[in-house]
């Protein structure tokens, strides 16, 4: 991701301006949400903030982790992601099964051509864009200029995806498959844990063959003192794993569904188009109950937007505490790298809508909800990533 252990060795001095600005923005937004909406949305905003801090301080990037394994054969980040999926499944599936009457719903989505094409495009785009759904958002919060361009095109791609999604949904496919429905909560959890363990074993085997040893970063302790690491980072991977898994559970309990990110990107783009006179209601997607209401109403009552706002502010606060706000934007950005950011953002945005979410909403939350589509998303995005990793050097992007 944007910052690595090489920068972690530098002393971390908090940037007071960024920290003050982030705390002020958090206070103003939280007060506005509290005054105008409902208490659960204030809680969601703060959960988003904690998720942003966890993503930044844990340097928890799906994109970089996949690339590091493919290019260098190092699997510690990938094993951390599998641990995250396993822990979240153990936390979320029982809640969905045993509290079904409480109005909670999992991230269940259909399986078909739309999912395959969308996830493939997303995987392709995240390697060129330089970050996935969560990665794009937390690096933007940390002041990364190139990732802001990725986000802009992510929004554009998302809006295009909403216009075409009904057509894609008419292609072959079948209804959502809830593994907990057929196997029960215990069976679905056991199957997911077995798949995660099997993949972790495969990753470890390849790493050992290639290097003769295995990185053991997942369970490593903090580099400095616990208190200093907690506020200034970097976090041990296991801290990030626990915070992200518990954070997803908190989103489920507060919002009624697991963590998602990219619906808000399409919504923000659609709102901008509507503001300049485009009638978005003419498009089928924006006439469906949930999107139509979200488009008509305030972003402050849209759970995905509110969580995203919290995540942005949380990442900004974390970057300020680490004294690394905007650090990733030092030096000239090659034009080809900017082109890759635009292509990657477009592919991710379009792909996320076709695939019913990004690495968070579809893969992380989908798998943690025992939905088959989460695993298929993972496989299709992996294939897209493999192709884009080979293309990165042509866009002046390093694979080191």
């Amino acid at each position: 991701m944007a910052h690595t252990s090489s920068t972690a060795a530098e002393p971390r001095r908090a940037d007071r301006f960024v920290v003050t600005t982030a705390l002020t923005a958090a206070a103003v937004l939280a007060a506005l949400i509290a005054l105008e909406t409902a208490p659960f949305l204030v809680a969601l905003f703060f959960v988003g903030g904690v998720l942003g801090i966890g993503l930044y301080h844990g340097a928890f990037g799906f994109t970089g982790g996949w690339r590091r394994f493919v290019v260098h054969g190092r699997g510690s980040a990938l094993r951390a992601q599998l641990a995250l999926l396993a822990l979240a499944t153990v936390l979320i599936v029982p809640v969905l099964v045993f509290a079904a009457d409480a109005g909670l719903s999992g991230a269940l989505a259909p399986v078909g051509v739309s999912l395959l094409v969308g996830a493939f495009l997303f995987g392709f785009g995240m390697q060129l864009g330089g970050g996935c759904g969560s990665g794009t958002l937390f690096t933007v919060g940390a002041g990364n200029i190139r990732m802001m361009l990725t986000l802009v095109f992510f929004v554009v791609g998302s809006v295009l995806g909403t216009l075409h999604l009904p057509w894609w949904l008419d292609r072959p496919g079948f209804d959502p498959v809830n593994l907990a429905g057929g196997l029960g909560a215990g069976g679905a959890i056991a199957l997911t844990l077995a798949l995660c363990a099997g993949l972790a074993w495969w990753v470890t085997r390849i790493e050992r063959r290639r290097h003769g040893d295995v990185e053991r970063r997942l369970l490593a302790g903090p580099e400095g003192g616990v208190f200093s690491s907690l506020f200034k980072g970097p976090w041990p991977l296991i801290w990030a794993v626990v915070v992200l898994a518990v954070g997803n559970l908190a989103v489920l309990l507060l919002a009624g569904h697991p963590w998602g990110i990219t619906f808000a990107f399409g919504l923000w783009g659609a709102k901008l188009l509507q503001a300049v006179g485009v009638d978005m209601g003419q498009f089928e997607f924006w006439s469906w109950d949930y999107p139509a209401m979200a488009l008509a109403d305030s972003v402050l009552v849209n759970v995905t937007s509110v969580t995203n706002f919290g995540l942005l502010v949380g990442a900004m606060l974390a970057a300020g505490l680490a004294g690394r706000f905007n650090r990733a934007s030092q030096g000239r950005i090659p034009p080809r790298s900017l082109l890759a950011a635009a292509i990657g953002g477009l592919a991710m945005g379009y792909g996320a809508r076709l695939a019913f979410g990004c690495n968070i909403g579809a893969m992380f939350s989908g798998i943690a909800s025992a939905s088959l589509h989460g695993w298929i998303w993972f496989a299709a995005a992996w294939v897209g990533s493999l192709i884009a990793i080979r293309l990165r050097p042509r866009f002046s992007l390093s694979n080191d």
């Binding site: 960024v18 989505a109 569904h257 697991p258 109950d289 109403d297 009552v301 004294g323 019913f356």
Partner: protein, 72 residues
């Protein structure tokens, strides 16, 4: 920190104010704000949420109600 700063404080503050302005403008034009101002007779996100038995995940897939409408 000042010597190592890689960003403009003014630009950062302006960017955040502009984003805040967009959020406020969007909110002031919303049904939720109108309801908070005492108007009624229309649906808001929060009332939609209360009226639906199951929350609809914002993954982009059609909600059950949309699928039912399409089948009608």
């Amino acid at each position: 920190m000042g010597a190592n700063r890689t960003y403009s404080r003014a630009r950062l503050a302006i960017t955040l104010l502009v984003i805040g302005g967009f959020i406020l403008a969007d909110h002031f034009a919303s049904p939720t704000f109108r309801r908070n101002m005492g108007e009624g007779g229309f649906e808001t996100t929060l009332s939609q949420r209360e009226s639906q038995a199951d929350a609809c995940a914002p993954c982009g897939a059609p909600c059950p109600s949309d699928q039912n409408n399409a089948a009608d």
